[in-house]
Each structure stands twice: as C-alpha cells, then as structure tokens.
Amino acid sequence: MTTILSTKGLHKHFGGVLAVNDVDAEFKAKRLRSIIGPNGAGKTTFINVITGRLPASSGAVLFGNLNITNRPAHRLVRLGICRTFQITSIFLGLTVFENVRIAEQSRIGGSLRIFSAKENLKAVNDKTWEILHRLGLEGKANIPSNNLAHGDQRLLEVAMALAGDPKILFLDEPTAGMSPAETEHIAALIKGLTDTIAVVLVEHDMDVVMSISDEITVLNQGSIIAEGSPRAIQDNDLVKEAYLGHA
C-alpha cells in the first residue's frame, strides 16, 4: 500500500505549550485513518499544520517524497490535499452551486478569463453537477448556502473539498451537530470515498470512528500514544487511561 502523506518529527508549539510533539504518522492510499484523543490533545492543530493553515515549528511533512512543510494552503490544494473545518467554512453569500463551482474552477482553470461569462465554463459546470449529484445536493443547487440546514452545510463543505479532486482528504469533525440520520448518511459517504482516496478523520463520535475506520491514531497532549485497528485501540489500556483518567 503506497503512502500518500507522512510526517517526520512534526512539532508545533504556541509559546511554551507543545500542541504537537514529535509526531511521526503515515497516511496510506485508500485507507481511512481516524485521529482521536481527549479535548486539547492536538488533533486539529496536527491537521492544521499538515494542510498549511499553521506553520510547523519543526519537523517535516512529506507528500510522497516531496517535502511540503509550510507550503501555502492553495498550493497544497493543487497537489490534492483538501480539507474541511471543525467550524463550517463555506461561501455563505453564494448559492450551493456557486460554492462548488468556484472550487472546481480553481482546480480545472479559467480563473483569469475576464471576458467570458462564468456560466460558459462547460467542464467546470459538468464536474460541479457531478459532485452535487454524488452528495445528493443537486436539488438544492440554487439555494443560497446560508439558507441551508446545518447538516447540509457540512455536506456542502465536503462537496467543496471533493471538488479539489483530492488524493487525501482531511475531515475535521464532519458529523458535529448532525442528527443521527444525517450522521449515518455522511459516515457511509466517507467510507465510500476510500474506494479511491485516502481519508483522515478527526471525530468525537466513537460509534462512527469504530465502525468505519481502517486504522486509528490516538493523540494525547500532542503525542501519539497508540496506533492500530479499532479493536486494538478499544482494548488499549493507555487509551482508556487518557480518556477516563486513572482506571
């Protein structure tokens, strides 16, 4: 199984606080790896550093063999490293279609064409409809995205990330605030993505994590304390201690 992305000795500190402490991790093609850990374990900071939202303090991020440490986010997206955010981040004033269309346009090209109508970029439009169909949002294409229900906004953000044609997709708590039915829907969708790409999931809903993950990485206080299959993690004493305190 080929490694898509890996980190070597990655550190991130904020002043004196070590948020990510010497993390070596590997993310493989067509695998779903979840990152779990108690609040403040450094999960979100870890993926923020990988995806170019925060600069690393030291260590390296490798995309295949390419060193991509501290590259700006838009260049990482071009390589196929896409993400969603813990707090929904979409273009609220634009329609659902336009949200996905702009992401497609920025991948396929045409952003510097100033004399043609944006509606005329045929390849971009076709791919946009394809993604909306895939996520079941095609019926809501013309609704302003700020009028969408919370669950659909989370789904739209996944659609925008997928429009970047990712090789690896980072999802930061995609089920947060979703109803059980919506959670089930998005969990199945996330699992389906691993037919083609690598997925990294930061998630608090343990039912989702345990049912769809191939591997799990457990962070505590910025360091990896355990790695393995869902079953192995459930039986791991260190993990129980991190979550529950001294047992």
Partner: protein
C-alpha cells in the same frame, strides 16, 4: 428588458447637454459621471472583493496630476497619450502599494489605505515645484479631442467634454460589468465571502486581491484623467481623507456590490452637496445627516430600494 432600460438611459444622458444647455448643469452632471466612475471602481474593491479603502480618491488624484503635468510639460495637444500616461503612472504607483496592501485584510487593510492616502496627500501638498502645493496645478491646457484624425471638439467645451466623459464611463462600466460576471469576478466574490475558504479551494488569495486592487486603481486613474480635463485644475483637497470619505459615502448611499448603485450614489451625493451648498456653507453637516438616515433606514442603499420595489410589485 434591462438592456432596453440601459439604452434609454444612455440616450437620455447623451441628449442631456442638447436639451439643458445651461453650462452649469452640464458640468454638474459631468462631475457626477466622473465621480460615478471612481465610486464604481471602489465598488470593485469593497462590494466584490470585500476590501475597504478609505482613500480611493488618491488614485483619482494621482491620475489627474499625471495627466495635467503631461499636458503642461510634455505635450499640450495629445489627449489620448496624456490619459494613457495617467493610467500607466497610476498603475505603476498602485503596484508596490498593492503589494503591501494585499498582505493584510479587514481592518488592517483599511488602515493601510488611509496611511498610503495620507502619504500621497502630503507629497502633493509639499512638493511645491512639481504640483503647485496648496495652490494646486493650474493652467492645464485643453487639448482637442481627436479620433482617427478627425477633431470632435475641444475638451474645454463643456458639452464636448461631457460627451467624452459619458463615452468613457459607459465603456468602463460595460467592461467592469463583463469582468465582474466572468470566472475572474467569481474568484473575487469568493474572496469577499470567505478568504480562508478561498485559499482552501486552491485560490492564491493575495494574487487575486492584487489583480482586483490594480484594476480598481487603474479605473481610478482614468477618472482622474477625465477630472483634470474637465476642470483644468486640481488641488490637494481632492486627495484629502475628507474627500475619500465622500467617495465611500457615494458607494454606501448607492448600494455596494451592484456597480450601477455607486454611480447613482455619486449623482445623489454631488447633487446634495451642490444644492445644499447654495443655501448654507455648512453643507457637510447635511450630507452627514442624509448618510446617517440612509444607513439607518436603507442599509443597502439605493439598490436596496430597487429590490424592495420589485418585491412589492410581485406581491
């Protein structure tokens, strides 16, 4: 339908100086057109890219001074060359400023525009030998307006100058409308809506902010060229922070994010300014009052009123 309305409006504006032959009113509407162009270019920044510039008038000023100096010192008869020089010089000055500007966003961006604007204002004020300091740049010659070897008239004639302004403002409006609705315009809107998300769908946010900035400043430079041709004079007060706030008010009064709104806003603003200043010299007080009322009761400006009427008719 909208095209027909636009054509009728253009026809009315083109016939205006032949119906109302009073030179004073022709000049007044000419000034509305010129400031309308400036306000529209600020709308590209504010309404479409989400960047607030307090002193966009600086680029009208730079364009005007360069065109004026070109006509005085280099060639008193080359109108098109002078305008070209004005646009090129404005762009050359706007480029390094923009390079610094786009590294920031939000409040920091707005404060930087104020800092650069004050700097340009001071340069114009103090560099007496070149700009005439607080006396302003006087005695700017009025070249003939030539097109393909045919003399259409002299820029010193209010009617001819008015028609030239109208033509250039229409061309700039159509061009900007096209650009705003292009894939490029969609990128600017994405940046306005959410800068972080824009970079996480693969947009080089700084670069596109710089493109938007350059286009807005270039249009500002064109409005400056028209300004000096129409007035034959410019002083540093045109580049003051006070005048900059006026341009911002034009955009807000008209309604940002529509292109045509700010042009209407410029018309309303200049009309109020002119009308009230015939009654009292404290006209700023009343302009301020009108803006306060508009912000409270018509937060989306004149454009919002249009939307309201359309909805009312449908119901």
């Amino acid at each position: 339908m909208r095209v027909v309305a636009l054509l009728i409006l253009i026809a009315c504006l083109a016939l205006f100086p032949f119906v109302v032959t009073n030179r004073f009113y022709i000049s007044l509407v000419n000034e509305m057109l010129i400031y309308g162009l400036l306000a529209m270019s600020l709308d590209v920044l504010l309404g479409y890219t989400g960047l607030l510039s307090f002193m966009h008038n600086a680029y009208l000023g730079i364009g005007a001074y360069v065109v004026g100096l070109f006509l005085i010192h280099i060639s008193p008869s080359s109108l098109w060359l002078a305008i070209l020089a004005g646009v090129v010089a404005t762009s050359l000055i706007a480029l390094p400023v923009g390079w610094v500007q786009v590294r920031t966003g939000g409040l920091a961006f707005a404060l930087l525009t104020l800092a650069f604007g004050m700097m340009f204002y001071t340069i114009v004020w103090k560099w007496y030998d070149l700009t005439g300091g607080d006396d302003g740049l006087m005695g700017v010659p009025h070249p003939d307006i030539q097109l393909g070897g045919i003399v259409l008239g002299n820029s010193g004639n209010p009617t001819t100058m008015y028609l030239l302004s109208l033509f250039i403002v229409i061309v700039c409006f159509l061009l900007t409308w096209r650009i705003i609705h292009s894939p490029f315009g969609a990128v600017l809107e994405a940046i306005r809506e959410n800068e972080e998300r824009a970079s996480f769908v693969g947009i080089n946010v700084r670069r596109y902010k710089l493109y938007g900035w350059m286009y807005a400043c270039m249009l500002g430079g064109i409005s400056g060229g028209l300004f000096i041709l129409y007035r034959g004079y410019i002083g540093p007060t045109t580049m003051s922070a006070f005048a900059g706030a006026g341009v911002l008010m034009m955009v807000l009064v008209g309604g940002m994010g529509s292109l045509w709104g700010p042009i209407v806003g410029a018309g309303i603003f200049i009309f109020i300014q002119d009308y009230i200043s015939t009654m009292t010299e404290h006209w700023e007080l009343f302009v301020g009052l009108v803006v306060i009322l508009l912000v409270l009761f018509m937060p989306r400006g004149f454009v919002g009123l249009g939307d309201y009427l359309t909805r009312f008719r449908k119901e």
